[in-house]
Amino acid sequence: MSDRGVVWLGSPSFPEAARTALADQQLRTNLRRATTTIRDKRLAVAAELDDWEELRTAAEAIKRRTARHLDRYLLQLEEAVIAAGGSVHWAGDAAEANRIVAALIQATGEREVVKIKSMATQEIGLNEALAREGITAYETDLAELIVQLGEDRPSHILVPAIHKNRTEIRDLFAAEMAHWGEPAPEGLSDDPRELAEAARRHLRKKFLAAKVAVSGANFAVADTGTVTVVESEGNGRMCLSLPETLITVMGIEKVVPTWSDLEVFLQLLPRSSTGERMNPYTSTWTGVTEGDGPSQFHLVLLDNGRTDTLADTVGRQVLACIRCSACLNVCPVFERTGGHAYGSVYPGPIGAVLTPQLVGVEQAASLPFASTLCGACYDACPVKIDIPEVLAHLRAEVVEAKRHALSPEALAMKAAATVLDSPRLLSAAQKAASLGGRVLAREGRIGRLPGPLHGWSDTRDSPAPPAESFRTWWRKNREGTP
C-alpha cells in the first residue's frame, strides 16, 4: 500500500509490468476478445439514443456543478441520510475509513461480512484491514469471488477476472472453495453455467446468515439522501436487503444534486459499461425502512486524496468518473497490457489520470505516460472527461517533480557537461569509454547497457567507441607538424 492508502501501487512501474504482460500471449488473446466484444455492444446501444451527445453534455455539467459546490451537496446529503434514519461518518484517508468500518462491524459482535463489489473499498484495502482485525469479508460478485479465491488482483473495473479463462476458474473453484465455505461440486466442468451455479451454492448460506454487509455506491442523491447500487447478479440485492446492518463506503465525488439527475446517469452508465440498455438490477434506498432491509445504515464519506484532486483545476474533472470502464475497452494500450500493469485498482486511461492524483504524481510517475494520447478514451467517456488533456497536464507535473529529484538521465547530462568543459577530463573519459565500450560491444555495436542507462539502450544500438580518440590520434600524428 502507498502512503496515501491506494493498494498495491507502483511496484513495478508501468513500463516494466507492461513488458511482462506483453509476453503473455494468452492474456492478450483474452483481453482482445473481451474488449472488442464490450466495445461493439456499447457502440450499438449508445447509437440507439440519438441524443447521446446531449446526455454526455448534461452529465458533464451536473458533475461540474457538483464539484464546484461539493461541500454544500455533501452537507445536504448528510442531513437527508440522518433524517431518514441513517448515520454518516467522514474519513480523511484510507486508514481512517478502515478503522471506522472495522469499529462498526465490531459493534455488531460479528466476525464475518458479505461484500458487494466496490472500487472504493478496494482502493482503501478494506478486506486486508478487516482481516487484521480478525474479520472475514466475503466478496459476493462472481468476478470478485474468483479474484479472492485466487488471491489475485482485479484487472478490469467492470470484469475484474477477465484475465482468467474458464478452465483456470474451474480449477480454482475446485481447489479453493472448500477453504472458504461450501465446496465446489464433484466433477465440476468449465461450462460458465455450471461455474455460476457453483458460485450460487457457495454463497447462498453466507447471504442467508449474514448480519452485516459492506457496499460501495454508484450515486448518492443530495436532496433526498438516496443511495444507489447498480449490478447484474443479485448479489448486491442480497447484501442490501437481507443483513441487519449495512455499511456503505463512498468517495465524496459520488454525490449528485437531485433525484431527477439520475435520469441522465442511469441512461449513460449501463450503456457505457456493459453495453446494455439497463443492467439487470438497480437498487436505491434512503436511510432505513421499517420492516424491509437493514435496520442500521451507515454511510462512510471517503476523501483519500480526492480533495487534492479537486484542488487541481485541470485534474478535478477526473472526479466526474462514474467507473463505467468504457475507456479501458477502447484503449490500445490497455488492450495489450491488461489491467495488472497499471499497478492500481484503477487501470486503463482513467487509472492513468486518477491514480497519480489520488496518491501524488511522484508515487505513480510512469502512469501518465501509459498512453498514446490517441483520444479514444475521451470519445468513449460518457461524462466527457478530457483524459488526454489531463494526461498531458500530469506529464508536465511529473517532469517538474523530476527536476527536483535528479533522474539518471539528468545526472548523466550533468556529468557530461563537466567532462566536456575540461580537456583533461574529456581525454580521460574518452580513454575509459574506449576501453569500456569495447568490453560492452558485440561485433562493433553496443546493445543493452547496465544499470539505469538501459532505458536509453533498450530501444537502440550504438556503435562502439573507436579504439583511439581523434584527439589522441592528432597528438600522435599531427602535433608539432606545421
Partner: protein, 215 residues
C-alpha cells in the same frame, strides 16, 4: 478538528478558484436531451414487451379477466407450486388450483424453501424494458422478489412510462426501490452471459392490457 471539519475545510480550500458569490444554479446544466426515446406513434406497451423479452424474460399479455388463467399456465409450465404472496396482492388475480400460497410475514429461510413469488409492480419503463418495485401493496419486501428462484410480476399497461425521466418522476425515492431488467445475469466468465446467479433465474412478466373503458 473532527474528520468532518477537516474534509470540509480541504474541499473549501481546494475550491478557492470558485467565486464566493457563485451558487450551484450559476453552473449551467443544459438539458437538451430527450425526455423520451419513444418514436412518435410508437406504442410504449408494445416496446416494453419487446425490450423485456430481449433480456430473455418471458412476457405474457392478458386482458384483465384472463390474468388468473395466464398466471396459472405460467406457473404450471415452470413447475412452480409453492409461492410467497405479498400482502395486498389482489385476490381476484390469483388462480385457483392446488398451489400453496405462503402469505407474509415469512422468515428468510422460509422464503428460501419456496419455489417462487408473485408480485405487482410500481412502474414500468418502455425504452429500457425495466420494471420497478417500490415495496408497496402487492409487491412485498425486497427479499420476496429476490430469494426464491422464480419471480412472476404483474404490471398494468398504464403503469408503463415511456422512458427513464418520466419513470423517476413517478417514483418516490423515500421508498426502497428495485429496478429489474430481466433475470439475474452474469458475464464474468469470458463474457459468456449466464442467466441467474443469486437473484431469480426465471422472470415472467404479465402485462395487463387496459380494458376498453379505461383507455
Amino acid at each position: 478538528m473532527s474528520s468532518r471539519e477537516t474534509v470540509l475545510a480541504r474541499i473549501r480550500g481546494a475550491l478557492a478558484d470558485v467565486p464566493a458569490e457563485e451558487g450551484p444554479e450559476h453552473v449551467a446544466v443544459e438539458r437538451a436531451y430527450r425526455r423520451s426515446h419513444l418514436e412518435p406513434g410508437q406504442d410504449p406497451v408494445e416496446l416494453f414487451a419487446e425490450r423485456v423479452a430481449d433480456y430473455r424474460a418471458t412476457v405474457h399479455r392478458a386482458a384483465p379477466e384472463d390474468v388468473p388463467a395466464v398466471i396459472a399456465r405460467a406457473l404450471t409450465e415452470r413447475g412452480v407450486s409453492r409461492l410467497a404472496l405479498p400482502s395486498g396482492f389482489p385476490a381476484e388475480l390469483l388462480p385457483s388450483g392446488s398451489r400453496q400460497w405462503q402469505p407474509e410475514p415469512l422468515t428468510v429461510p422460509e422464503l428460501d424453501a419456496l419455489d417462487g413469488s408473485v408480485t405487482l409492480a410500481a412502474v414500468g419503463i418502455a425504452v429500457t424494458g425495466t420494471i420497478v418495485l417500490d415495496a408497496g401493496p402487492g409487491q412485498g419486501r425486497r427479499a420476496l422478489s429476490l430469494v426464491p428462484d422464480y419471480h412472476l410480476c404483474v404490471i398494468r399497461a398504464e403503469q408503463i412510462a415511456d422512458d427513464l425521466p418520466d419513470a423517476l418522476a413517478r417514483l418516490d425515492p423515500a421508498r426502497p426501490l428495485t429496478f429489474i431488467s430481466g433475470p439475474s445475469a452474469t458475464s464474468d466468465i469470458e463474457l459468456d452471459r449466464v442467466e441467474g446467479v443469486h437473484g431469480p433465474r426465471t422472470l415472467d412478466v404479465v402485462i395487463v392490457e387496459q380494458s376498453v373503458e379505461q383507455s
